[in-house]
């Protein structure tokens, strides 16, 4: 017990040490090169943006598009993954298609969406949805397949409808792997929206970075990047914690 506590403390110390080394390294690099903004200047630029309200607006635009896309991918992805995992025929027909589409860079569809839908939140949200849906489909299909067939047979022999078997038996039993896919989908949705905004957008954090880059406003660029990385880090850690708790419960 005490060994695992001291081990955990050592790991924590190492983590803090890594962050300190990274910040110091950044600071040293900024002192050595005029092309790198210092950590302090970057944070200051970020605070200035937050005070001016620009950060809130960009954040709302990015996270709004990401959330719409993410929710759509969950709503679309889980039923498709369920069908692929439960039906041998549907699985044999569409699993190779999903695997191939998974390998196609989704960003190449963004200009098509821009052409058809136009520049704005909707095209970003759809790109996020078609990116995040694949890990969710794959994880759901895999998770559903792992559920012991006797459970669902038991349900149907007790007279439950297919929908009830799915909702009450199969999906809860497959929840931990599905949650893994959902976490990955969440990250993918965020990354995708940022990439889309770096390409063409009317607003958002990615566009802010791009604008700062083209004006060579280094402090703002570094500040915005720092903020984006922090958002991704915190969001991802939170979902990881949820996933691990679900896993612990089901074990």
């Amino acid at each position: 017990m005490s060994r695992s506590v001291s081990r955990r403390r050592k790991v924590m110390e190492l983590r803090i040490g890594l962050v300190v080394v990274a910040v110091l390294g950044w600071y040293g690099a900024s002192a050595a090169s005029p092309l790198i903004a210092s950590p302090l200047d970057s944070v200051r630029a970020l605070v200035d943006q937050a005070r001016a309200g620009a950060l809130t607006a960009d954040c709302a635009s990015t996270l709004g598009a990401m959330l719409y896309g993410f929710v759509a991918s969950v709503v679309i992805g889980i039923p498709i993954g369920y069908a692929i995992g439960r039906s041998r025929l549907i699985g044999a027909a569409f699993e190779p298609v999903i695997a191939s589409l998974f390998a196609v860079p989704r960003i190449i569809f963004y200009p098509l969406l821009l052409g058809v839908i136009g520049v704005g939140a909707t095209s970003k949200a759809w790109l996020a949805a078609i990116s995040a849906v694949f890990p969710i489909i794959i994880a759901t299909a895999g998770g559903v397949r792992q559920v012991a067939p006797i459970l669902s047979r038991l349900g149907s022999s007790l007279g439950s409808s297919r929908l009830k078997v799915a909702w009450k038996i199969v999906l809860p039993a497959a929840l931990p792997p599905i949650m893994g896919g959902v976490r990955i989908g969440f990250g993918v949705a965020f990354v995708t929206v940022i990439i889309a905004e770096l390409f063409v957008a009317a607003s958002g954090l990615g566009l802010a970075v791009r604008d700062a880059y083209s004006q060579l406003n280094l402090a703002v660029m570094y500040g915005d990047i720092l903020f984006i990385v922090a958002v991704a880090f915190v969001g991802s850690l939170a979902l990881w914690a949820v996933e691990r708790r679900l896993q612990a419960v089901s074990d």
Partner: protein, 275 residues
């Protein structure tokens, strides 16, 4: 995108249950292929209807046939220049990121506390748009291939480092002890016993890494570049060359599908546990 960790844990050799061999009947396979064809027909039909009914402006959406015809641009020298540019970046990144990832994965395994310390950073790096550092590197290194190669290398590094660590950790602790009691020196034991044992999971990570590097490179080229497949798509978009753009998107989709098919084949041939 599947993380390496869940990818790895779901394909652990030890965890695979023996399935009774099941022979799919010809009717079953024909049914699966028929369903796939139906999906394709439905997509193409919906696309065609959207254009012919005028639901979508034909200036922004060509017909399926026009897009298919525009795929003939693969005969142009320009396409080959773009393709070789993108390919060069991906291959260089795979070499650099792969070597670094393998070394780091081994280090994280040898120093378990360090491995535990970096794991959350590696896992969250997946959800971090590494691409936002692209402008930073352009400012530092100029608009050449190096910013692309370095960012793509980081994308390769993450899954390979994580999977190497997980793969080595998943091996039974008996193996190194066995090697030592048989008198083989550390490096030999590592090369002959541990690395082959971890290889299946490392290979899975390598396939994912290659796809990430391709996706990331094309995305970065779309943002800022002077050549490459992504650059060409972005160029077609901003110059309203809609048909050419659709043709190139189809070409890239076909190439990525083919690449994935080859990588999956390589992975299967190298992984005896999947056979």
């Amino acid at each position: 995108m599947t993380t390496a960790s869940s990818d790895a844990s779901s394909t652990l050799p030890s965890g695979r249950a023996k399935k009774a061999p099941r022979v799919d009947g010809i009717r079953f396979r024909a049914g699966a292929i028929l369903l796939r064809i139906l999906l394709l027909v439905a997509v193409v039909a919906a696309w065609q209807i959207a254009v012919s009914t005028g639901a979508v402006n034909s200036l922004t959406l060509p017909t399926p046939w026009q897009a298919l015809k525009a795929m003939s641009q693969v005969r142009d020298g320009e396409f080959w220049k773009d393709l070789s540019n993108t390919g060069l970046v991906v291959l260089a990144a795979f070499g650099i990121g792969g070597a670094a990832g393998l070394a780091a994965g081994i280090a994280f395994w040898r120093l378990p506390a360090l491995g535990d310390a970096v794991e959350p950073f590696l896992v969250t790096l997946y959800a971090t748009p590494t691409l936002v550092f692209y402008p930073v590197l352009i400012v530092l290194l100029g608009l050449n291939l190096w910013p692309l190669i370095l960012i793509a290398s980081v994308m390769v590094f993450m899954p390979i480092a994580l999977n190497t660590m997980i793969g080595l950790r998943s091996l039974s602790p008996v193996l190194p002890r066995l090697a030592r009691s048989l008198g083989s020196p550390g490096p030999v034991a590592f090369r002959k016993i541990l690395l082959p044992g971890a290889l299946p999971i490392v290979i899975s990570g390598a396939r994912v890494a290659f796809l990430y590097a391709t996706m990331g490179t094309i995305a970065m080229e779309m943002v800022v570049a002077s050549a490459g497949l992504g650059y060409r798509i972005g160029y077609d978009y901003s110059n309203f060359r809609t048909q050419e753009m659709y043709g190139l998107v189809l070409v890239v989709a076909v190439l990525a599908t083919g690449l994935n098919w080859i990588l999956t084949r390589v992975e299967k041939s190298m992984r005896r546990d999947l056979a």
